[in-house]
């Protein structure tokens, strides 16, 4: 099969990789229709985080092609979305909802597991990992939003959920990447009353507004902290959502958090220091991490299918597998918020795509 191949920092090519086959009875093979490029892929692309050479990508939707003998509730032809980590669904951490910390789970595109940026993927623990998408003939808009649920929408939701965002709350989001924008959407969905997006980019501000931001702060650093205090009666926000992962963004998040508030953090950390004095003397908590997307996916999928949320708006660049490097470069240059990659649209592999919709196989 053809797939994106990571050859080290700055090197993404497209080439041949072995066709995936069922190795364990709990595996399924998924033929990928849509994939995308993650902000964390950029860390690898830039050489700032380690990544195995070879397969890459961890977000995709597609059609089940084959299932192992122990896979229940999934059949060939099912259209599915995957959370960006696979999980057995039965260990004590999965049972507690921490699917992304599954004792036997892992991520795609590393450690010998196929990447999502390719034509097909062997999915371990498929029955407890993949989420079946009901219905057929979904519009391209809907499919883009379902693809967003694979990681970015769930990760934004995790920031908001970790910070305890609830009805009427005052929230600010640090970071206007796809995750930050998704965190705005999540805060809105959870009922936040005031949502302040920190962004100096007009296109991203527009998406933030569309997703529910009530205020935009263009300043950075101390000026941003002052601006957020101005917008919140001098108090700061009850929930500060940190969606970048740098020392400055974490410092800003704690700076804008109200005493007794929470920082919900989902940015992959690079040189981050937690201001423990703020934690202790202002009672500002910190929670977040690698999102347990499998926990959040069903409810978010329901909202997507009912057209209550449109997380796919984060995709503002589109390409195909052969040109996937363009998707990386557009994000690396900050020309794109997030790049969608059309892998296949044939009748065989594109089940669920509007242009190739066909009845679900029995």
């Amino acid at each position: 099969m053809r797939a994106a191949i990571f050859g080290g920092p700055g090197k993404i090519t497209v080439g041949e990789r072995p066709d995936p086959v069922i190795k364990n009875p709990t595996d399924a093979i998924v033929r990928v229709s849509l994939a995308c490029v993650c902000g964390s892929d950029l860390w690898y692309y830039r050489g700032l985080s380690p990544h195995d050479l070879g397969a890459i990508g961890h977000e995709f939707i597609g059609t089940v092609e084959e299932v192992g003998s122990e896979v229940r509730d999934l059949r060939p032809g099912d259209f599915v979305v995957t959370p960006f980590t696979y999980s057995d669904g039965t260990c004590v951490l999965c049972r507690a909802g921490w699917f992304s910390n599954c004792l036997h789970g892992g991520g795609y595109g590393n450690h010998g597991i196929d990447g999502g940026q390719g034509e097909a993927v062997r999915v371990p623990f498929a029955g407890t990992t993949l989420v079946n998408v009901p219905g057929s003939g979904h519009s391209d808009k809907t499919l883009r939003s379902i693809l967003a649920l694979s990681d970015v929408a769930c990760t934004g939701h995790h920031a908001a959920a970790s910070a305890g965002v609830g009805p009427g709350m005052t929230v600010a989001v640090v970071g206007d990447g796809a995750v930050g924008l998704s965190a705005v959407l999540a805060a809105k969905r959870l009922g936040a009353g005031q949502i302040i997006a920190l962004s100096r980019n007009p296109a991203r501000q527009a998406v933030a507004r569309e997703f529910g931001a009530t205020d935009i702060v263009e300043e950075r650093g101390d000026a941003a902290i002052a601006a957020v205090h101005d917008l919140t009666g001098g108090l700061g926000v009850e929930a500060a959502l940190e969606c970048v992962g740098t020392g400055e963004s974490m410092s800003t998040a704690f700076g804008i958090a109200r005493s007794g508030g929470m920082v919900g953090a989902v940015g992959a950390p690079h040189d981050v220091e937690v201001p423990i004095d703020v934690v202790i003397f202002r009672n500002v908590g910190l929670r977040g991490g690698v999102a347990p997307a499998r926990r959040y996916l069903p409810a978010l999928l329901e909202d997507v299918l009912a057209d209550r949320i449109n997380p796919g708006l984060v995709f503002d660049f589109e390409t195909d597998l052969d040109h996937i490097v363009d998707g990386y470069e557009a994000m690396d240059d900050r020309r794109a918020i997030k790049s969608l990659v059309r892998i296949a649209v044939s009748a065989e592999s594109g089940a669920g795509l509007a242009q190739t919709a066909h009845p679900r196989m029995p």
Copy 2:
């Protein structure tokens, strides 16, 4: 009046300080009967945290002597316990329950406010700060427990509450000082199923057992982390309560926390680094801080008066005001867990004390 006077690191004397008088209509004057020495006082005594010269101490119980014109629900003769910070009870942070972060509040024994280690205290915002102790003729055992509610029992409770301790949960407590032991008690009170106390001191282990510890770990550092994993099926604990405030104790707390778990931290931080990789990649949250004791006090007081909890067991050294330095030294040498200081036992000032019990003034 006579009071303890902080003269700099290592210097605690007893001398004369001005008798407190009502300055604001929301003030009350409290005649102190029992006070105590806090672990944080030791930081000052050791020169490791800054403290104004002069008044010191922030935990006390006593009798209301005089109230300002705007103090409601308190009368001279009322027997009261104070949380270790005073708060207006009306600002947005107090209304949200964050009394220790009150926009107009503060602490005793600093910034010109009388200390608790003296014969009398002017209490600002007395009506919203002090908690009236119902009944009279309380036993010395009960009074010691009420005194513990002034700080240490509420601070231990804050560690457990911040970590979300609930029925059946697996908890470990780092620190066998009075706060750590109080955190054991709090975890038990909140229904924890397994409570692991880290302590190598037999006397403190005994109190931990009495408070509800199910297991004791004597190891430190990596060996402690391994021991806690051994006791929890290799998983670590759902809630790790950090009650010391050093880099090593925080590192241990994150090391013993299960993925998806919480660190509840209440130790005053000294050279603490938060392992952000554990926060993000293992989804271990961090919450805690200066306890909003006023929020917790009423429920804990009810449990003390009903003899359901006995937090006063942390007091294993007793002295009087003249010899208060002995109380500091006993704690500094780790001969004592926590030192109680009998300030007054006269009929006039000792209302509520069993040996001088008298009917409440009308």
